[in-house]
Amino acid sequence: MLWPKRLLRVALKGLIKNRMRSLLTTLGVIIGVASVIVMVGIGAGAQADIETQISSLGTNMLMAFPGASRHGGVSRGAGSYNKMTLDDAEAIRERAEYISAVSGVVRSGAQVIGGTGDWSTGVMGVSPEYLEIRAWGLEEGKFFDERDIRSRAKVAVVGATIVDELFPNEDPIGQKIRINKTPFRIVGVLEEKGASGFGRDEDDTILVPVTTGLYRLSGGKYINMIFVSARSLEDSEAAEEELREILRQEHRLNPGEEDDFRIHSQAEFIEMATETQEVMTLLLGAVAAVSLIVGGIGIMNIMLVSVTERTREIGIRLAVGARSSDILVQFLTESVVLSLLGGTIGVLLAYILTTVLNDAVGMTTIIQPGVVAIAFGFAAAIGVFFGYYPARKAAMLNPIDALRYE
């Protein structure tokens, strides 16, 4: 074995002497590596985007609706037998382990008068935890608290659309409005949320204490639904199970009897979106794989051609006394240096590209370490293999045949 230092020097000299070829080879590695990392990064970014969008609907939210109960085998349709009360919500709050927040919800349509005129909108009676469940915040003012719930206070928190419609030029806080003729005082304004995933204007709403909504506006006993928040996304399923159990106990359902309510979970939405996203990631991954293979073929071609073209050089080296192993080590060193160089530049380029995409273009791209490793490894392996293999072939020739090679 010759001194590694000398071999490295010879390999580097060889690379510098053949600048163009070295550049082209590295270019193949660079593009192969960078394109795969960026491509998969875009896929991962899109996935993250969708997850963020979904969780903006409310973190880990579960919804229970009074639902299709069956009597004597006849389904009466969803909500036909309304049997959900504030006591249910209270029971959940007390007994549930996996649920961090609960809000009974009463919904009613209402004619609102105040400020510059009147407006027809939806009024929701909710508990103070509602904002947490929906991952919603206040623009200004305050939200109502437990005391307001107990006292059935006539206070309201309004959405941005209501402010635009009724109080375009003045501070809505403290203003009086009439909801179905009952006077309310505005104590807070909700953050603007925009259209929901279902195309409804989320900001066209008024929130009042759930008891106020139930007893002063709807005048009924039953609430429309219960929103709860699981402690975490992982606990969603346990929380759903728990919610079902508690509601069944509250509704005194016998084992085997159908639920008289329905539960929808945020997890369902996420699952759906994830499925879609997985298809997309698969697609991007396939494109990326193709580009990696194309990049690999590029590397392969250049390496094959360049080593073949250097068969004479190999012949000269053999003729003056190089052993086959000397030749192999030289070419292997060259290949490894090129591949590592190209791979490193490729990774750097990918980082630069994703930064540009993220900051300048506003896309979300996420670099995944695993993909970096795979792309780097694959490109490097191809570079090394196709640098080594033809060199091996040449090194095994008789020196005179290598010298005569045209």
């Binding site: 010759l2 000398r6 010879v10 002497k17 004479r312 050089e313 012949g315 000269i316 080296r317 053999l318 003729a319 003056v320 006394g321 190089a322 052993r323 086959s324 192993s325 000397d326 008789n398 020196p399 005179i400 045949d401 010298l403």
Partner: protein
Amino acid sequence: MMERVIETRKVTKHYLMGDLCVKALRGVDLTVNRGEFVAIMGASGSGKSTLLNVIGCLDRPTSGQYLLDGVDTSGFSRDQYAEVRNQRIGFVFQTFNLLPRTTALDNVELPLFYDRTGKFNDPRAAAVESLERVGLGDRMHHDPSELSGGQRQRVAMARALVNNPSIILADEPTGNLDSRTSVDVLSVFQELNEQGITVLLVTHETDIAQYAKRIVVMRDGLIVSDRQVWDRRSAAQDLEAMPSHDEMVELVAEGE
């Protein structure tokens, strides 16, 4: 007592060219003693280059024995062949076979790079010395493309000499050179031979062969004639007597 440096016994070499079996050597017996200067002659296809390649351990014979310094090489491994080429034989080719884009000095140093004996403490100095020996001390940092044909052949000779080999093999070393440069190159071979190095030279030019001490003629893969040269010429003297004078000399030396 004559020392046999090279001895071939019934050496044959067959090539497969497609379906055709070419018999380049058909049983060659050749013995060369230390200090000889042998010119191997013959028409193209006579097998003279093939014989030289076998002697130079660039190629293996199909059958027969080749003894180098009395040692049979038939059982040698690839690495042992490489070592023979590296340590004992200097090879000069018709087409020079220098590494392109590599300075004369680096080209000459190349064999030392593969020297495993560690006998060269300063390979660079040895390369410089070798280049000076062939009279190219002033052009050692030039690439082959910046050198004339004669200069390139001198670089190749310096490379063949750098390991202090006991045998120099030259395959048509003057084939790509004009007549004056040829004589010039031959004068270097003669000088080396004076210093005790055995020289084997393949050529098809009769006047070049006249500078050798012994002429072997081959035809169809066999030696057909083997004689000493009695009226041997001196390349150095011929060079002086060459008709080309000052201007021509400069032109040849510089341009070519």
